[in-house]
């Protein structure tokens, strides 16, 4: 009988794993389960909300992915529990046995402990397509004019652009003193803030929500700020962080910390059970999720592979035509570090270097030819010699240019 490979979750990690399993195991039975009805890229949810794309257009695989790879897909199926002993997973409609299991259930958004936020009927997250659909329905049903968003990270700003696209006014509360605090410094943040404000957004920086007012239908109608000000709204969106989606594993005996505990091969504490992506709490960015999915899948198929490229403090953003790349902590207080800054009309660059090693970099404006920065930072390449002859922002891959015997580029030592 064919071996049964089960993947729970159809996000980046799950889909990358499915493709890899099919590559190695032509005859295995591959089953995917997802709570969603559409496999979608959550990085594009704002394009759905803004009316730029349909549900189908959020897919990051070919429309015939499941048929072509002969994968059985159980849509709209919530995983309820894991039975390690009997090697089966409990779904809403019964038990699914497995020979090998990959848990790629991602993360869930958190709701801050503000009065009524966790009980009101009009508080949403922005993580799954179902969240975007709920917001879409709420905008239509309420003919919403004003939305209160908690958090100005990438998710908060994404959902803001989607709503602004539809003419909804947004107020965004951010506890930090600047927008997108993990990726920006004050200067880069201001450039984004100005663009959002020019399109009608209002930011409350360094200000939290402290209370809210509800009506008799259990809907929040206004948020009360720590300053005492009251901001009226049609509904609230929480974009202030996520946590691994592991609550359903409680009592299963699977070892968890913040996320599911895995080794370098993405193996969990249970035999033949692997985990990848956000659910491991190892990284919250797309490329790493896909890598983890592929590593897990390879090991599930008996191809020994290790997850080594773990660097994950990296991101790009693109709002109102302004692009930005950030690698590392650009606000780090590193003793004895050199801070390089270069500003021109359309570009802002900042780099933190300690003992010749680049710690973090931010490029805002033209981000062409910036791929080498991640490599230099994560591999802690010493730049002292190069810095004697050129400015830091003039460093390119060309300074390390080398080709191997099949013509691929590599980094010269």
């Amino acid at each position: 009988m064919a071996e049964i490979y089960v993947i729970v979750g159809t996000g980046a990690a799950g889909m990358a794993a499915a493709e890899r399993i099919r590559l190695y195991k032509k005859d295995a039975t591959v089953i995917m389960m997802s709570i969603d009805e559409h496999s979608h890229s959550r990085c594009m949810l704002h394009k759905f909300l803004g009316g730029e794309r349909t549900e189908e257009e959020l897919s990051f695989v070919e429309p015939d992915f499941f048929e072509k790879n002969e994968i059985h897909w159980g849509k709209a199926q919530k995983a309820l529990g894991l039975d390690i002993q009997n090697k089966r997973i409990q779904m809403e409609n019964g038990y699914q046995p497995y020979d090998k299991l990959l848990i790629a259930t991602g993360s869930v958004f958190g709701i801050p402990p503000i009065n009524h936020f966790r009980t009101a009927s009009n508080v949403y997250g922005f993580r799954d397509l179902s969240d975007a659909q709920k917001i879409d329905a709420a905008v239509k049903a309420k003919n919403a004019k004003h939305v209160f968003i908690v958090g100005s990270g990438l998710v908060g700003l994404d959902v803001a652009t989607g709503l602004m696209e539809r003419g909804v006014k947004v107020t965004i509360a951010e506890m930090a003193p600047r927008v997108m605090p993990l990726q920006t410094d004050d200067i880069a943040a201001k450039a984004y803030q100005e663009r959002f404000e020019a399109h009608g957004a209002r930011f409350l920086l360094g200000i939290g929500a402290s209370d809210s007012i509800i009506n008799d239908q259990n809907e929040i109608t206004a948020v009360v700020l720590s300053t005492g000000e009251t901001v009226a709204c049609d509904f609230v969106i929480c974009a202030a962080g996520v946590r691994p989606n592991i609550a359903w594993l409680e009592g299963s005996g699977l070892e968890t910390e913040r996320g599911i505990k895995v080794d370098g091969h993405m193996r969990t504490s249970a035999p033949d059970v692997y985990a990848a992506g956000d659910v491991t709490a190892l990284a919250g960015v797309w490329p790493n999720a896909m890598d983890m999915g592929r590593v897990a899948a390879s090991n599930m198929c008996g191809v020994d592979t290790e997850y080594t490229d773990r660097y994950c403090m990296k991101n790009t953003s693109n709002f109102f035509g302004l692009q930005m790349l950030t690698i590392g902590d650009i606000n780090a207080q590193v003793e004895g570090a050199d801070i390089y800054v270069k500003e021109s009309r359309n570009c802002y660059k900042k780099a933190i270097v300690k003992d010749g090693v680049l710690k973090s970099v931010l490029i805002q404006g033209d981000i062409s030819h910036t791929g080498h920065w991640q490599y230099l930072i994560k591999n802690e390449i010493n730049l002292s010699e190069i810095l004697k002859r050129k400015e830091i922002f003039d460093i390119t891959y060309g300074d390390f240019f080398e080709t191997d015997d099949i013509g691929e580029y590599q980094y010269k030592n």
Partner: protein
């Protein structure tokens, strides 16, 4: 797979490859560098020649890597390694312009388009039978196609 091989010692930095690339990807239906409008923002080469700082040149051409950092970071499915040709192809219609590929190519090859709505990268001139335009245009044989 077919790859554009590089011998930097032969490169004169003439950038005929860049012109050929621009011409090969022009959208106005014209053909031939002589009629190419260099001032259009969309007239942009997908390859580049860097100065090596020692009087020589470094041709920067997409390697269509065996493990492509760009495609491995793509959240829209726009970038994919074609299992038949081995080339990393880009579907502009799917692209979400997030630019994670720009960040994740260790060699800095894919770049945002001038209008910031998509990326530009080598498409091997869509596998045209006569091979990529850049290779045909190189007067020094600093780049050539090889089966690897």
């Amino acid at each position: 797979m077919k790859r554009i091989m590089i011998d930097p010692s032969k490169c004169d930095g003439c950038k005929n490859c860049a012109l050929a690339c621009m011409d090969s990807h022009r959208m106005d239906g014209g053909d031939g560098v002589v009629t190419l409008n260099f001032t259009l923002p969309e007239t942009e080469a997908r390859n580049e020649i860097l100065n090596d700082g020692k009087g020589g040149y470094l041709p920067m051409f997409c390697r269509h890597c065996s493990v492509p950092g760009c495609a491995n970071s793509c959240m829209s499915g726009a970038l994919k390694k074609d299992m038949e040709t081995g080339h990393v192809m880009y579907d502009e219609k799917r692209c979400g312009a997030c630019f994670m590929c720009v960040m994740n190519c260790p060699y800095g090859i894919p770049k945002p388009s001038a209008d910031g709505t998509k990326i530009l990268k080598c498409d091997f001139c869509n596998e045209r039978p006569e091979g990529p335009a850049c290779v045909a245009a190189c007067p020094k044989q600093a780049i050539w196609v090889e089966e690897v």
